[in-house]
C-alpha cells in the first residue's frame, strides 16, 4: 500500500503540468491499490485468461483434438502431484514451428509443435510441462505481470488514463501489456532455474524419468543457438548448458538412488503418429 502511494505521488510529481480531477484521481488510485494486494483465485484466473488470450493471438491452436487431449492427460497427471491439484489446468499445443513452451497464471500451459516434434518420449514431454506447471505453482508470471501492470497503471495516472472513469478496462489493458512484456522479455533467470528444479520433482512424483527435462535441454544445446526456431527461447531463458549444469548438481544424490521411473517412449510415438504418420 505504501509503495502504491509512493509510486502514485512520484508519478504525479513528474506531471505537475497536468490538471487532475480529484474524483478521477481517486478511481485510478483505487485501481492501483487493487493491483498491490495479493491476487485472489478469481483474479488469478482473470489475469491468466488475459495472458493466454495474448499468446493465442500470436499463435494458433493445433487443430488436432487427439493430440490436444493426450497432452492434457499427461499434463493433468503431473499437475495432480502439485500443491494445487484443484485449479482448472488446461494444456494446449500451439501450431507453431518455434521451439518453446509457456505458462499463464491460473493453470494455462502451452507447448509448440516445434518443440513437441523434437521430443523423444513422454518423460521429455512431462519434463517440459512440469517446468511450466512449476511456473504457475510458484506464481512467477502472476507476480511479474502484476508488477508490470502496477507500473503501467502508475504511468497512466499521470496522463490519459485520468480522462476515463472506468477502472476495469484500464486494468485489463495494463495486464495485457504486462503479459506481452513478460512473454517477449522473459521472467527473471532465477525463476527459470527454480521452475527447472520444481518441475523435475513434479515429473518424478508423477513416475516419469526425472532426467526428461535434462534430455530436452541437451537436445537444445546441440542445436545451433542461432537457429531461428530457438530465437525467443534463447532470448527469454538461461543458456541450456547453464540449466543442465545447475540441474545436474541439484539432482545428483537425491534422485540417484531411485529407480522404476518410466520413459513412455512407445506411447509417445504412437500418439505423435497422429502428426507424423506411423
Amino acid at each position: 500500500m505504501r509503495n502504491s502511494v509512493i509510486i502514485l505521488l512520484f508519478t504525479l510529481s513528474l506531471s505537475a503540468c497536468n490538471t487532475f480531477d480529484l474524483e478521477q484521481l481517486g478511481t485510478v488510485s483505487t485501481t492501483l491499490q487493487r493491483a498491490f494486494v495479493p491476487a485472489t483465485a478469481s483474479e488469478e484466473q482473470e489475469i491468466g485468461r488475459e495472458a493466454a488470450a495474448i499468446l493465442l493471438g500470436a499463435a494458433p491452436l493445433l487443430d488436432n483434438p487427439k493430440i490436444q487431449a493426450y497432452v492434457n492427460r499427461v499434463g493433468l497427471w503431473i499437475a495432480l502431484q502439485s500443491e494445487r491439484p484443484d485449479i482448472p489446468w488446461r494444456f494446449a499445443v500451439l501450431d507453431d514451428p518455434d521451439i518453446n513452451a509457456f505458462a499463464a497464471p491460473g493453470g494455462y500451459i502451452f507447448i509448440t509443435t516445434g518443440l513437441l516434434l523434437r521430443l523423444q518420449n513422454e518423460a521429455e514431454l512431462a519434463g517440459v510441462l512440469a517446468h511450466e506447471i512449476a511456473h504457475v505453482i510458484a506464481s512467477h508470471h502472476l507476480d511479474a505481470i502484476r508488477k508490470e501492470a502496477r507500473l503501467s497503471l502508475a504511468g497512466m495516472a499521470a496522463g490519459a488514463a485520468l480522462r476515463e472513469k472506468g477502472q476495469d478496462p484500464e486494468q485489463l489493458k495494463a495486464l495485457a501489456g504486462g503479459a506481452r512484456l513478460i512473454y517477449s522479455r522473459g521472467l527473471e533467470r532465477s525463476d527459470e532455474y527454480e521452475a527447472d528444479r520444481l518441475g523435475v520433482v513434479l515429473a518424478a512424483k508423477a513416475g516419469y524419468d526425472p532426467y526428461g527435462l535434462v534430455s530436452v535441454l541437451q537436445a537444445l544445446e546441440r542445436m545451433n543457438p542461432q537457429a531461428s526456431e530457438l530465437g525467443l527461447l534463447m532470448k527469454t531463458h538461461p543458456r541450456p548448458q547453464d540449466r543442465i549444469a545447475r540441474l545436474d548438481r541439484s539432482m545428483r544424490g537425491p534422485l540417484d538412488g531411485m529407480s522404476g521411473f518410466q520413459l513412455g517412449e512407445a506411447r509417445f510415438r504412437q500418439q505423435l503418429s497422429e502428426l507424423v504418420g506411423p
Binding site: N72, G114, R222, S228
Partner: protein, 163 residues
C-alpha cells in the same frame, strides 16, 4: 500439412544425427565403473567421447585408448547439429511461405515462428481461450492414463539450489 512437412524434416535430421552420436567432456571428469559406482580413472576436459546408453543421470562413454566407463550427464556436451543444420535450413527455407492457421485464428508469416514481435503485436484471442476448455480432461481420465503405462506416484524430496 505444414506440420507434417516439418515433422518429416526433423525425422530426416534426427536420422543424420543419430548416425554420428558423439560428445565432448566440458570439464575434467571422474570416470566411474558404473552409475553411482567407484571412480576408476578420469578424463580431461575437451576429450572426445562416444556416448552410449543413459541410466538416470549417467552416460556410458568410451574414449580413445579403450577407456570406458560412466560419467555424469552434465559432464557431456553432445555433438552439435551443425552438419545437419544447413540441410535443415534448406528444408525450412523451402517451407518458408506465408501461412494461415488451420483454425483460422491468426496468421503468422513464415517458418520463423513465434517471436517477440508477434507477441507484442498480438490482439487477445478469447475465442481460442474458450476452445481450450474443450480439451480439458478429468482427474479420473488422467489417472487412467497413468495406470496404463503404468506410472507410479513417488515420494520425491525437494531439490536444493546448487549454483
Amino acid at each position: 500439412m505444414r506440420t507434417l512437412l516439418l515433422a518429416l524434416g526433423l525425422c530426416f535430421m534426427a536420422t543424420i544425427v543419430a548416425a554420428s552420436e558423439g560428445g565432448t567432456l566440458i570439464a575434467n571428469t571422474p570416470l566411474y565403473d558404473r552409475p553411482n559406482g567407484e571412480v576408476k580413472g578420469s578424463l580431461l576436459a575437451n576429450t572426445l567421447v562416444e556416448v552410449g546408453e543413459r541410466q538416470g543421470g549417467w552416460y556410458a562413454v568410451s574414449a580413445s585408448g579403450g577407456r570406458q566407463g560412466w560419467v555424469r550427464i552434465g559432464s557431456v556436451r553432445l555433438a552439435g547439429e551443425a552438419e545437419s543444420e544447413s540441410m535443415l535450413s534448406g528444408f525450412l527455407s523451402w517451407l518458408n511461405q506465408p501461412r494461415s492457421s488451420a483454425t483460422g485464428n491468426s496468421t503468422t508469416a513464415g517458418i520463423r515462428g513465434l517471436d517477440a514481435g508477434d507477441i507484442n503485436a498480438a490482439a487477445a484471442n478469447y475465442d481460442a481461450v474458450e476452445r481450450m476448455e474443450r480439451w480439458r480432461v478429468t482427474p479420473a481420465a488422467a489417472r487412467r492414463h497413468a495406470e496404463m503405462l503404468p506410472l507410479r506416484e513417488r515420494s520425491v524430496p525437494p531439490l536444493a539450489d546448487r549454483k
